[in-house]
Structure formats: C-alpha cells, structure tokens
Amino acid sequence: MSTSYERINYNLRPAKSVERKMLCEAFRRLLNFYDLTKYRYVGFGSIFFSDFTLIHKSLGIKDLISIEKETKDKKRFEFNCPYKCVKLRFGDANDVLPNLSWRRRLILWLDYDYRLNGSMFVDISTFFSRARSGNIILLTMEVTPYELHELNKKTSKYEKISRYEKLKETIGASKIPLGVKEKDLDRQGFPRVCYNIINNEIDQIFSIKNSVIENNKKLIYKQLFNFRYQDGDALMLTVGGIIYSQKDKKKIQECNFEDLDFIKSKRNEYKPYEINVPNLTFREMRYLDKILPRSKSPKIKKEEYLAFLSEEKQENYSKIYRYFPTFVEAEIR
C-alpha cells in the first residue's frame, strides 16, 4: 500500500500551499504578545517538510518536531530533513505526542491525509489535556464522502453498507452528532458532519479539563481556522484555533485575528473559508495584480475585467493573490 508521499508530491498542492501561507500570516499576529521563537512546532512533515521550511523561515521557530509513522523509510526522511533544528520522531502520533515535553508553548498541526477516525480523538485529547495559554492546534483531514467501493460489506461483494454504517463502524455511534442522517453524509453534508464531530470532541475534552480549574485560571478555546479546499480528488477540511487564559484575553483581542479575511471564528454555523486556486497564466496574474488590492468595493470594476476569464476566476484570485504559489520549472546553472 503506497504511502501518501509516494502518491502526491506535496510541493505541488496549490491550495495547501495557500493554506500554509495564510496560517503563517495568522501566527505572525502573535508576535506582539508571545515570543514565537520560544515556541515549539509539531507536525507531520513527510519527506517534503514544506510546512517546516515555511515555519522556520518566516517565524523563526527553532524547536521543530516532525512525527513520522513510516518507520521503514527512516533514512529517506533523515536525508530530506531541511534544517538542523528539525527533529524527527518516528512512530504513531498517538504514541509520540504524550511522550513529548510540553514545557514550551506549542503549535501543533495534525495534518492527517485521511478521513476521520478514532485515533484522531486520542491526539485531540492529548493536546487539550496539556493545554496552556498560547497553544495552537490545527487538524486537517479528508472529507470526501465514502465512495461506493468503500462501502462493501465485508462478507459479500454485492451487498453494501450505508455511509452512516461506515461512519458508525469507524468512530462509534456515540460520536455521531444527534440527528445526522444518511443524506447528510454526501458531498455537501459530510464536511459539516466532520466539522461538528471534531468540535464536539474539543468541547467535551475542554469542558472536562476546565471543570477542575479555578474560575480565574480557566482556559478558553477560540476557533480561528475553518478551511475547505480541494486537493486533487480529495476534499479537505482544516479546523483549529488558539487556547488562552482569562488574563491573556486582552492580548488575544489585540492580535486582531478577525482583520484577516480568512479567519473563521464563529463555531455555531458551518461556513468554511473556501480556498479556490484558479488556473491562471503568469501574464494574467500580473495583469490582475496591477489592480490589487481593492481600495473600496471588493468587486472588480467592469472595465478592468479580462473578458475571457470568468468573473469567478478573477474573484478567487483577488482573494488569495498574496498567498499565491508560484511553480517554476527551471534549470539554474
């Protein structure tokens, strides 16, 4: 069974690249209040370590750990490790996370490349049970609905189980939110269901943790991120936020995260920030750049339109132009 890094070249995922840059921009907002260089970053670097490179270069974090479960390819990972300060820990996140030291403030990005499953709850639980003010958690998972060939009954190739059954088998009936029906697990609804499941889990663990802390030391979880994007054939969801204590409340408010248009902190509704990376040529992008950023109205003026490009493409570009990845094929002598 091929590993994900053998199937996808992580450097070539445009939406993911945009997401990464947006996240870094959000993290930078903390610079005024927390010394980011004293943070630790933990993630799943795979062989490309794209997030690690970005985090180290743009934020200056010097304590970086990449958790890797493909232990048989150790040498390859070690070879591709970009900086001395990036350390590898081999094993499953379930096993590695509890054994890390949680002394430093932490940014944890659980970038799973598969669908929701029970072991994710363990990692969430580990994070929140060691929560401290200033810690950030991110969870990325696939939210493509279960496909027909994945719904085969174990015993018979012709009999199918429902998507609901499959979800129940994977995470247990008591984790499925009240009122979820089969039709809620289609392409439209499955991301919302996964989002709710993750948030329910966060709420529960957080509540248990907070219930034994004195009032003035209680922690608060503020959601910042709720992304949705297409990654090749897979539909992806990223959800996450920051934990802070009452006394840091002012600091967090002054970070002014909501100034960034991709921040989604309302949890009671499912309105993710959609990252759509349009396919444009260099010339088209340079033309559009000249009229960006918009000063007043966010809409493109009629006369500035490139008539042959759809309005949607141009709108999408204007939303993310600052994070737009550039892929160049070049031989540099």
Partner: protein
C-alpha cells in the same frame, strides 16, 4: 416534671433530612440514567393507556438546552388524586395502586431526576378529566421542615385525547448539568442510551425524540439459518409474584471492537426496560465455576448475545436496583436464572472458541479455509423474536482437521553486521529468510544423499 424531661431526652431524632434527597441520592444515578427514569414514567403512562398493545401515536419529546430541560408526553397525564397523595411522595406508599408490568416502582425516579438537574420545576398534567400545575422552587422548599408541595392551579373539564399528557420543565439548571447539556457529545450519548434502554418500547410504536430528532429503534438480532438455532428457555416463578423470564442465548454477527463498542455479553431487561447490557462480568456468569466452567469474558466472545427478559405484574419482584442500571444480585430469582444462563451459554462459548481456533489455525497455514467463519457470514440476522430456537444452542462444528505439520521452530541470536552480510550473500531482505537460507545451505551440503 423531671420525668417528662427525662422522657424527652430518651428520644433520638431519626427524621430524614431534605438534604438527603437534594444532594445525596442524586449521586446514585448518572445524568443520562436520570433522564431515562423520566422516560420510564412516560412509558408507564403508555402502559396505563394501552396495556400490552401497541404504543403507536404515543410520544415522548425531550428538549435539552443550555438553560432548560423539558420532557413532554401524550401518555394520559397524572391523575389528580394520584398527584395529591402519591406521585410527589418520597418513596411509594404501600397502598398506592400500581400499573401492572410498570417500570416506575420505587417512588423516587422523578424527584431524584429533577433534583439532579436543577432547582426550579414546573409540572403540568392533563388527564381526561383534570388538569393541574405544580411549581417547585427547591431553595424555598428546602428552607423549612414542611415536606408538602402545593398545586398552583387545578381545573376540571373534558379534555380531548391529544391534549392528555404530562409536561415537566426544569430551569435554573445546576452548573455541571448546564455544562453537559451544552455538549454535542452528550446528546449523542443520550440518544445511544435511550435507543438501547427503550428499544422494546420504541419497537412497540412509542416515538421518542430528542430536540426534535427521533431516536431510532435498535434491533436485538441473532444469527439465524439452517445451521444455527438460538437457545431459548422460559420459566415462571409462582412464588415470586408469577415473575416470568425468557432467556435467549446465541450469536450476533457484528464484531465491532475497533470503536470500543463491544456488544458481546448478556442484556438484562426488566419489564421491557434494559437494565444492563452488555454485561460481561461474573454477575452474568462469565468466569463462573459452577455449574459448569465458563471463562472470563474475552474479545473472542464479542459475538455472544444473551437476552434475558424478566416480566412481573408487580415490579417489586424484579431483580433490579433503584437506579435501574444494575442487577440486584441477591434476588433469589436472579440467582436461579443465572444458573440457567450459565448452562445455556456453554455451547455458545464452545462454538466461539472453535471459531477462534479456526482463525488461529488459518493464520498459521494449518487450514486453508475458515469454514465456520463462512457459515457465520452466510447466515442471516433476525430479530430475537423471529429466530429459530431450540432448548440448547445449535451450530455447525468444525469438521476439517488442521493439518499437523511436523515442524520445529529454531530461534537464535547473531550480531547485526553478521546477519546483514548473510542477507547480502543470499540476497534476502529479512532475518527470517536469512535463517531459512542458511539452514537449507547446510542441509543441502551435509545431509542430502
């Protein structure tokens, strides 16, 4: 005068305190079980209306919100005299009439559940001839020694069928209850619990909703086919109020341990209410030594399904505890039934052991097919009330002998660099293969003719 003083000092105060109920007894039950208790009261109303018949048209609507809890039903309401003299007493007076085969019997369920949740209650009831409201403020009520409550208003009249029922609203929720009600996972767990605890009532047509979402009817299913028969036993205990018991022992197909939901074990019902399930301890015979030896519960028994249905006109005789989440192991009826349960589960345990052994043999290449597993996979699942039964559990038996290989395992340790060199020499990638190759090499040169 002195005598009277002496007489008075001989008296010891034994009066119960209100604190006992407000703060202590509420600990004997979990929040979800408390809500289930309230549903039981609705079910009793349903039994009062329909007896043994279907509950179609009857419903229980539960609303769980951060600032209030509400449960309302259309199961007939509480009779005014019942309310005045019995329903609000702490404990059930012996002269109170009961509903035959009811589930509410200790006189404690409703009060305990309400005290557990909050400090302000409003109970409205409408029967065919009267309607009343009772409002209780726990803080005011606990301030003095008076144990009485007061009707807020009582009206008499002829009330239409669809208006007859009970509504209970709890506000000023206790802080930890408030916290739990906020969580999505709590609602999921509540749904799961109610689904199982009231599955028989729901399958009789009772609609139970939580925040507008209907609780599904779960099925108690057993394997059914030409080769499988579920064990079934019926007993009636005349001297214990004619309590009857039906025991089923067989296997289900589902083996879902990955999500932590191990469904194997015994499910005990009292008057159609699930008390304990899936029970996997010595209480239901796992690990027993008499009358036969049964091993302690183990994952390989996760396909085991045992259902025990106790029914009694008077719930007093049933072997349950006051929280209805446990078995009264001292009950003579239960002790007798337990022996029967153990007897019935023996052939099932033997079969599951055979299935396990087959799996191990197959994994070790001693069998080329999982015959018993195939039989299981090709059988159907049917509701317990529809399966074929017999006096004891019938199943197919393993007829294929595991190939006995005359093999011996050789194990030894050598340093890594030496093993790596050997691997290179024989062009293999594992230590196991290196060992096998070296053996063959030596054998070919030294032992072959």
């Amino acid at each position: 005068m002195n005598n009277k003083k002496e007489l008075l000092s001989m008296i010891i105060n034994g009066k119960p305190t209100k604190e006992l109920f407000i703060t202590m007894l509420i600990r004997d039950i979990s929040l979800i079980d408390a809500i289930s208790d309230l549903v039981d009261n609705c079910v009793d109303g349903a039994i009062r209306l329909k007896g043994d018949g279907k509950f179609t048209g009857l419903k229980v609507d539960i609303t769980v919100k951060e600032d209030c809890f509400k449960i309302e039903d259309n199961c007939g309401g509480i009779d005014r005299e019942l309310a005045r003299n019995y329903a609000f007493r702490f404990g059930r007076p012996s002269e109170a009439s009961t509903v035959d085969y009811s589930v509410g019997q200790f006189g404690i369920g409703m009060k305990r559940a309400l005290f557990k949740m909050g400090s302000k209650f409003e109970i409205k009831s409408t029967t065919d001839s009267d309607s009343f409201t009772v409002e209780i403020d726990v803080n005011k009520w606990s301030a003095d020694d008076n144990w009485d409550f007061k009707f807020k208003n009582i009206t008499q009249g002829n009330f239409p069928l669809d208006k007859r029922g009970t509504e209970i609203i709890v506000t000023f929720l206790n802080p930890d209850v408030k916290e739990r009600f906020k969580q999505g996972n709590f609602l999921s767990e509540l749904e799961q619990k109610l689904e199982v605890q009231h599955l028989l009532n729901i399958s009789k047509g009772l609609t139970v909703k939580i925040n507008g979402h209907s609780v599904r009817a779960k099925q108690l299913e057993l394997l059914n086919g030409d080769k499988f028969k579920t064990a079934y036993l019926y007993r009636n205990y005349k001297i214990y109020g004619n309590t009857s018991v039906k025991i089923y022992a067989g296997i289900g197909k589902y083996k879902n341990i990955r999500t932590g939901e191990d469904m194997g074990g015994w499910y005990i019902f009292c008057n159609k209410r699930l008390i304990k399930g899936s029970e996997q301890t010595d209480i239901t015979g796992w690990g027993a030594r008499t009358p036969v030896r049964i091993p302690a519960y183990h994952i390989q028994f996760s396909r085991f399904r045992g259902f025990v249905f106790f029914e009694a006109k008077e719930p007093y005789f049933l072997p349950w505890n006051t929280s209805k989440n446990g078995i009264n192991i001292d009950s003579p009826i239960f002790r007798a039934v337990r022996l029967e349960m153990i007897r019935l589960m023996l052939p099932v345990k033997n079969f599951l052991n055979e299935v396990h052994d087959e799996s191990v043999d197959f994994a070790n290449d001693r069998l080329d097919k999982k015959y018993l597993q195939e039989e299981i996979d090709s059988a159907n699942l049917k509701s317990f009330s529809d399966v074929k039964t017999s006096k004891k559990f019938i199943s197919p038996h393993q007829r294929h002998k595991a190939k006995k290989r005359n093999e011996v395992t050789i194990t030894y340790k050598k340093t890594k660099d030496k093993v790596d060199k050997i691997k290179e020499v024989f062009d293999v990638s594992s230590a196991k293969e290196a060992g096998e190759k070296t053996f063959e090499y030596t054998y070919d040169r030294e032992c072959k003719e």
